[in-house]
Symmetry: C2
Subunit: 235 residues, 2 copies
């Protein structure tokens, strides 16, 4: 499997287009602190208007402005999915009191009504059949989820929260993981299905697979994979 | 160890007084859903004004009103501690952009600056030396924390988030736990130090211990413990 930067913040599709409203980052500072915020992604174009992650709590007005640039008010968002309960991802969930809200595995609607679902059993939570769904991707946190957008102009996009820190994060993700073994499984599963991945703290990147007969490409070594696309890098 | 309802929402102290602004609840509905919200607790009276948990995201204005009833605006809150990252506890963190914010083990201040700490190594995060601190209490979630208030009129109060669902929760807490073994350890540790516990989804309750020589009272069976206080119940 090879990856390369997407080089854009938007992936068009019919009906669903996806746009990274805020590109996440994480910068260690000389004094031992980190400056960080999570990616915030909008998926819209059909009956569902979904926001994936809401950024840190210091940026309430910024998020309202980013939505307004897309011609949307918070009330236009029908579904908010927070990939997990860390503060740089759940900071602004109270902007969306009318939306269906999934925070990790907490699914709620309206005034404190929590709904059952089967995400923990491996069943996706479907927002739009065949096009838009949430899947459990445990590891970074036990209850971590990712959003899958199908049939875009680039294929399947997975908005993966902190399942991936950034495109080339092999040195980093394990140290941030609640369960590295499960996270490795989740990462492989997503790498096997995604054409584009939106990570939690970096720009979106493309995934290129070379499918051979009877081979599971992400278990081959690097030499066994041909590359596709423009300037992909080893992952 | 015996417990009994506190029968009040406030515990006075010098300097720190504690008040449960919102009593958490969790009510299964006939249709399989749950109506739930988390406890919200204010600790004030010294240089620190701390809010423990922020309730669900549908109640932003209610939380502002509850603070106003105590004569406070959100900007008066110096520290917000969310015991863990579930949606009924982190719903309104963006009301407090000027506070130091601890969400589970995410410690941040200002505009997205994340700070190191040693909570995961077992060292408390001290808000006011000797009086007010945060301790790691893993189990319900891996990163769960609790707030300890010392030297109140009733002794030590622990605002314990969902480490305890409610006073008599033996039938329930394990099903909601990410790590029941760790949670059991955390529960015993808190039961051994707390005179009052504020649980995540029920009213505050008192804890009565009968200290015998060489005994660890919470490991005795029920018959081995004398009771103290007014109408305590077995736990």
């Amino acid at each position: 499997v090879r990856t390369s930067p997407l080089g854009a913040r938007e992936v068009a599709g019919a009906p669903y287009t996806l746009r990274v409203l805020q590109e996440g980052y994480c910068s260690p500072q000389p004094n031992g602190t980190f400056r960080a915020d999570g990616s915030v992604t909008l998926v819209w174009g059909g009956p569902v208007t979904a926001l994936v992650d809401t950024g840190g709590p210091w940026d309430r007005q910024r998020l309202v402005n980013l939505l307004a640039e897309q011609g949307l008010s918070p009330n236009d968002v029908t579904h908010v999915v927070c990939t997990h309960g860390h503060s740089d991802h759940v900071g602004n969930i109270n902007l969306f009191p009318t939306a269906t809200l999934l925070v990790g595995l907490d699914l709620s609607r309206g005034d404190g009504c929590y709904l059952p679902h089967d995400l923990a059993k491996g069943c996706p939570y479907v927002l739009h059949p065949g096009l838009l769904e949430v899947m459990a991707t445990p590891g970074h946190t036990i209850n971590h989820v990712s959003v899958v957008v199908r049939d875009t102009s680039l294929g399947t996009v997975v908005v993966a929260g902190d399942l991936f820190e950034r495109e080339e994060d092999e040195e980093e993700w394990r140290a941030l993981s609640e369960d590295p073994v499960k996270q490795e499984q989740s990462r492989r599963r997503v790498m096997a299905m995604a054409d584009v991945i939106v990570p939690g703290h970096g720009p979106p990147f493309r995934v290129f697979r070379e499918w051979g007969v009877g081979k599971v490409p992400w278990e081959e070594d690097d030499e066994g994979n041909a590359t596709t696309g423009d300037g992909p890098k080893g992952h």
